[in-house]
Amino acid sequence: MTRTVSRDDPRVLLESPATIYDAIPPYPPRSEREAEFYALRDGEMLVNLGPQHPSTHGVLRVVLKIDGEQVVDLDPVLGYLHRGIEKLAENADYHQAICYTDPLEYVSSLFNELAPVMAFEKLVEIEVPRRAEYIRILSCELLRIASHGLFTGWLALDLGGYAPILYGFIERDEIVEMLAALTGQRMLFNYMRIGGVNGDLNHEFMSRLGEWMSRAAREIAANQTLLNENEIFVRRTRGLGVIDRETALRLCLTGPALRATGVPYDIRRAHPYSVYPELEFDIPTRDEGDSYARYLLRLDEVKQSLRIIDQCLEQMPDGPCMAKIPRLIRPRPGRAFAAIESPRGQYACYAISDGTDQPFRFRIHDPSFVNLQSVGVLVPGNLIADTMAIMASLDPIMGGVDK
């Protein structure tokens, strides 16, 4: 005799097999911390956030341990976007390795290229023409404004405000179109070369830049008032995810998240590279160390970037934009480390050469990756809805986190 089972029958649920959407992993704990995390006390439960969730900015899965509405602990699970860039680069020659780094932090790809290029230049010991250095800084600072503009929008989006992301994209689109005129690409530029840049400044780029610069400061300021004076936004971010100076240093935080706690650690001044010693700009810092401070700090940085672009255009020297280097590079055996300040913090590259035309080891240190682990300290004790606000204020890009 067959018996039809009602959908409301609890046995149907019991018999359904485990899937990856179950928060508790189907294997014994691999570390002390994992055992501690997945042991639930009375009243606690686990909830998966992601991997496909709009507020995680990519494919990040966070297992939240919640008690009611409050997050007790969380366990980020990475690797959904892992492409093995470091391994790929070991099997490519020095020029090819650069283009692999483009899709790491895809909203600021020029920075991803700059650090490896600088490390390779140290290995090969090439002098980069000064015009190329200025063009690099000019394009990077433009992209920093675009990246910070998007950050503002994303932060508001995660708090439920839809309008700022549109303005962020308008701002980014103008800059990206400008850079497309310069590099030929809108997103993954592949513009930096060992010994210089791929092409000189051209007429279309300069006319677009000039037109944009004439109104940029005013428009950016206007966009910022959207959120700065928005009471909901301020009350949801102020005092949220507070971190103090000492903890931030111990957590290896860099970039705006560290400077929002009052440590003026910016590679552009802490360990100057390229032509930054010749440029005048300030390193804005704040003391509160909360989400709102991280937001305000980025607004201040945009103003400094505009100053830098002005000075770059003024001081731009004539000359070649590419050093004379061979097609196939075989650096002498050695090691080189180069770090730059990307919009998210210190972006570094450590390269080892063994005398062949391929890097022996190519290590990328990504600020998103290191900054993201501080959610384990910042989030517990807050509400689930505030998890997004804290995570967004660190501005992680999953392409960079997962490499």
């Binding site: 240093l249 360990h271 770090a339 240190h365």
Partner: protein
């Protein structure tokens, strides 16, 4: 290379250093054995003479003969304008073990997990040492020089036949293939 810093490091750590401090351009580097990691890094971090407060990078390296862990440290420009590179040299390739620095920088936890995931270096003292990028049932270490893509990758869940998070007993290990050895030491 910052010769003043190099002399101070040699005076402070003496016989703990494997060879003299070296350097190139804006980098100064010292080498230590895995037994001295905790003491040397604690001294570099805590002592006001050095004050290397920022851990700029933590990387694993496989030279083909030994494993290394490489730390890059930053201090105020009044101390030095260089990056300080501390190379922990001579970890055996069969059983690489290195003390964790999470007692100094909690933020070293994930980079150490990454080095474990990619090279199999076990950081003693790291409370959360598990794979971070590769699936939990993965059995080999991709960035090691004897990693053989065709075999090692086929063993993983990336093959597509096994479920992402189910345990499986690892098949027989393939014999190691020719290793690319480094000329840099």
């Amino acid at each position: 290379m910052d010769t003043r810093l190099a002399r101070r490091l040699e005076a402070r750590f003496g016989a703990r250093l494997l060879g003299p401090a070296r350097g190139h351009l804006d980098e100064t580097e010292i080498r230590i054995g895995p037994g001295d990691v905790a003491e040397v890094l604690r001294a570099l971090h805590d002592e006001p003479e050095f004050g290397f407060r920022v851990l700029a990078d933590l990387a694993g390296v496989d030279t083909g003969e030994v494993m290394q862990v490489v730390y890059h440290l930053w201090a105020e420009p009044t101390v030095t304008r260089d990056w300080l590179r501390v190379i922990v040299d001579g970890l055996s390739r069969d059983d690489p073990r290195c003390p964790s620095v999470t007692f100094l920088w909690k933020g070293a936890e994930w980079p150490e997990r990454e080095a474990y995931d990619m090279f199999g270096i076990v950081f003693e003292g790291n409370r959360d040492l598990r794979r971070i990028y590769m699936p939990p049932d993965y059995t080999s270490f991709p960035l090691r020089k004897d990693f053989y893509l065709a075999d090692d990758a086929a063993r993983s869940a990336a093959e597509g036949v096994r479920h992402l998070e189910q345990m499986a007993t690892p098949p027989e290990a393939t014999p190691p293939v020719a290793t690319r050895r480094s000329k840099v030491r």
